[in-house]
């Protein structure tokens, strides 16, 4: 097994765990945590592809990952803000109760 493959495997595992959390959790905050996990799995991929890619001397992968972490931080802030607003509005963070968007 090459180092890249093992990294990818770990990232896929991480992504799957995050996805499962996002899909199965009923608490909005836990869903957000799942999404963070998936993002980080993607970051791990970015770093892995950079490190074992054709041009490891360029800092493209790292730059991309740092960028992504920054965006994830902003996203988490917005997401948490939304959750707080929803909690204020609906007095709950249970996602199953948030079904007013159905047709």
């Amino acid at each position: 097994m090459t180092p890249l493959a093992s990294y990818l495997l770990v990232a896929a595992l991480l992504f799957s765990i995050g996805l499962a959390g996002a899909l199965t959790r009923r608490n909005a905050i836990l869903v957000l945590i799942g999404i963070e996990l998936m993002l980080n799995a993607a970051n791990l991929n970015l770093i892995a592809f950079w490190r074992y890619g054709p041009h490891p001397e360029l800092l493209t992968g790292m730059m991309f990952a740092i960028f992504s972490i920054a965006v994830a931080a902003a996203e988490a802030a917005v997401g948490l803000g939304l959750v707080i607003q929803i909690h204020r509005h609906a007095k709950t963070t249970d996602l199953d109760a948030m079904n007013r968007m159905k047709g």
């Binding site: 996805l19 899909l23 199965t24 199953d96 968007m101 159905k102 047709g103």
Partner: protein, 690 residues
């Protein structure tokens, strides 16, 4: 007998001929104006009618004077004004009018008699609420009749002829509230229509053969020598030439209008109309239109005759005329309605005219037409005066003794009666009837018509005596006492009475002015005309016949004044004959069992055909369509609608199913998304695309 007529070449139409159209146009315009008047405008309508008639009379007199002036300078005036109405393909439909002695004489007669009758009508129709309508119709009639007279185109003549028929219908049915009047109007219209169909056929044939509708057109007219030669060369069926056949067809039209046997049945019934109508239309002018028509197309009727000979058409005219003369005179003997007696007498006299035309030529027939117009108008107006005086009574048996109650009416009526009987020397009827008898005596074929006409003259004298003694002789047998009529009715009577006597002067053998005028010869006064032995014998003989008839009548009826319930004197003598005569010799009955029965049968057959066959077919088609519609409905409700409804249901069910997916839960969506990605990946993986 027939002198050769040589007219001088065609004259250019004078201004008078150019303006001839005004004569019929003025009364027609008056009729149009009167039609727009309100019912209450009685005076206006009378003024319009009489004024227009006066204008026509004046113009007619001018035209007449013009013709007489030309004639006295040795010219036989025949001025025509023709124009093309329209073109149909290559054929010209021409109209036009003609001013010649024949039309000039008729113009004066029609407008003069018409004017007198119009004036008389003011008195007679005084109490009628439809006074305005009456004068409107009368003016229209006068216009149409004058149109017939001046027509130079057989088409124009036919159009006016039909207008005359129409006004006759309208006026017979003037009192349409009376069922008898309405029926009589219908009968008159239908009977004359039979003749008119033949006339139309003759007209079309003539047009087809000669290519022109004009009578006279500088040698190119349909009854001028060129066209006649062509018609004679053409042979029709039964050994007739085309000229003869067309002549016979036109005569059938004339017979319908002039009440010749067997189309006479409408004329006595036409007496349901107001008396002035009977006088103007059914005695003086319209019924004479048939005679006038024969006189107008006389060259056609005569075409092919050798000198002194006759043609088939003229022979038929003669026989029909002579037979009608006797036939109608016989029926007149046994009638009790004052106007019906006169009506049959009119039929009889029209027969004389036809016979005169057939045997003696235009002048003989036309002279009797003119004199008859005056004395028969006089008699009818006199009868109207009697009816008016007797408060609407028309049965002669309920009159009597009127000679003292209505002296002027009696006097004028007696003059009319003597003129009709042909009382010698003083009265116009004598001369005109004598002319016919003389022609009959000289007829080259057989003498039978002569004896028939003499017998007719005897009957005429007899029935008129009977009528006059019934009305004026004896004592009053009616209800309310009679009174003399107002002046407006008496004066026309007096004028007509004067002419009933005076007109004889222009046609005596000593001074045959009328005949010379019509034939285009110079008239000479020659007392030796009386001296011809054969003529003297004839005059003596006919006078004797008249005296015999008068005497017989007086002997039978005289001053007896039988009661209305008593049988007639003649009835007591010969009951079977009387019964037949008073039933009008069963002509109506004959028609009832033949023509009418046939049409009734035909109508029933058509009705049956309509109901059963055509009706059945229509019902079948309708049934088929409704069956189709029913099928369609079934298909619609059960197949088309079902399919559609099913589709709709499925759609909404499907929509419901799909709507269930949209839960509004983001996680569910995400799950599905994830599942889909997994499936996609699996597909990609298994298909070895990675």
């Amino acid at each position: 007998m027939q002198e050769t007529i040589s007219f001088t070449p065609q004259l250019a139409a004078s201004p008078i001929a150019e303006m001839l159209w005004l004569i019929p146009a003025v009364p027609m315009v008056a009729a149009g104006l009167a039609a727009l008047l309100m019912q209450a405008k009685r005076k206006t309508s009378a003024v319009l009618a009489i004024g227009s008639m006066s204008v026509s009379l004046l113009l007619s007199l001018v035209a007449f004077a013009h013709v007489v002036a030309g004639w006295s300078h040795g010219q036989a005036v025949r001025e025509t004004v023709n124009f093309t109405w329209f073109q149909a393909g290559t054929a010209n439909i021409d109209l036009g009018w003609v001013l010649d002695p024949l039309s000039a004489v008729m113009l004066v007669m029609v407008s003069f008699v018409g004017l007198l009758i119009f004036i008389y009508s003011i008195g007679y129709m005084k109490d009628d609420e439809n006074f305005t309508r009456f004068f409107c119709f009368m003016s229209l009639f006068a216009g149409a009749m004058l149109g017939v007279v001046i027509a130079n185109s057989i088409l124009l003549l036919f159009m006016c002829w039909e207008l005359v028929g129409l006004t006759s219908y309208l006026l017979i049915g003037f009192w349409y509230q009376k069922p008898a009047a309405a029926a009589a109007a219908k009968k008159a219209f239908l009977t004359t229509r039979i003749g008119d169909v033949f006339f139309l056929l003759g007209m079309v044939w003539l047009f087809a053969q000669t290519g022109t509708l004009l009578f006279y057109n500088n040698g190119a007219g349909s009854i001028e020598a060129g066209a006649l030669a062509g018609l004679l060369a053409q042979s029709a069926a039964l050994g007739l030439t085309a000229a003869g056949a067309i002549g016979l067809l036109i005569f059938a039209g004339a017979a319908g209008k002039s009440g010749q046997f067997p189309l006479h049945v409408w004329l006595p019934d036409a007496m349901e109309g107001p008396t002035p109508v009977s006088a103007l239309i059914h005695a003086a002018t319209m019924v004479a239109a048939g005679v006038y028509l024969i006189a107008r197309v006389y060259p056609l009727m005569q075409a092919g005759a050798l000198a002194g000979g006759t043609t088939t058409a003229l022979t038929v005219v003669t026989w029909v005329g002579a037979f009608t003369a006797v036939f109608a005179a016989m029926i007149a003997v046994a009638q009790n309605d004052i106007k019906r007696i006169l009506a049959y007498s009119t039929v009889s006299q029209l027969g004389y005219m036809m016979a005169g035309l057939g045997m003696g030529g235009v002048a003989v027939g036309m002279f009797h037409l003119i004199t008859h117009a005056f004395f028969k108008a006089l008699l009818f107006l006199g009868a109207g005066s009697v009816i008016h005086g007797c408060h609407g009574e028309q049965d002669v048996r309920r009159m009597g003794g009127l000679k003292s109650d209505m002296p002027i009416t009696f006097l004028t009526y007696a003059i009319g009666m003597l003129a009709l009987c042909g009382f010698p020397l003083l009265f116009s009827g004598f001369w005109s009837k004598d002319g016919i008898l003389e022609a009959a005596q000289h007829w080259s074929v057989v003498k039978t018509p002569f004896y028939m006409l003499v017998f007719g003259a005897l009957l005429t004298a007899f029935y008129m005596t009977r009528q006059v003694t019934y009305i004026f002789g004896g004592h009053w047998r009616g209800g309310k006492p009679a009174h003399e009529s107002p002046k407006v009715m008496i004066v026309p009577l007096a004028i007509l009475a004067f002419f009933a006597m005076a007109l004889g002067l222009i046609g005596t053998p000593a001074w045959p002015w009328f005949r010379a005028f019509l034939d285009g010869r110079a008239a000479s006064f020659d007392l030796h005309g009386f001296m011809e032995p054969r003529l003297l014998a004839l005059m003596g003989g006919s006078a004797l016949v008249v005296f015999l008839g008068l005497g017989l009548g007086w002997w039978l009826y005289g001053d007896h004044s039988p009661k209305p319930s008593e049988p007639d004197a003649l009835e007591r003598m010969i009951p079977p004959v009387w019964a037949a005569l008073s039933d009008k010799l069963y002509v109506d009955e004959l028609y009832r069992v033949t023509v009418i029965a046939f049409y009734g049968w035909l109508a029933r057959g058509a009705d049956w055909l309509d109901r059963r066959v055509w009706g059945g077919a229509v019902a079948g088609v309708a049934w088929g369509f409704s069956l189709g519609a029913e099928l369609n409905r079934f298909l619609d409700t059960n197949v088309v609608d079902g399919g559609f409804d099913k589709g709709c249901d499925e759609l909404s069910v499907g929509g419901g199913l799909l709507a269930r997916i949209q839960t509004g839960r983001v996680q569910t969506y995400l799950r599905i998304l994830a599942l889909a990605v997994v499936v996609l990946v699996a597909i990609l993986f298994w298909s070895n695309r990675v």
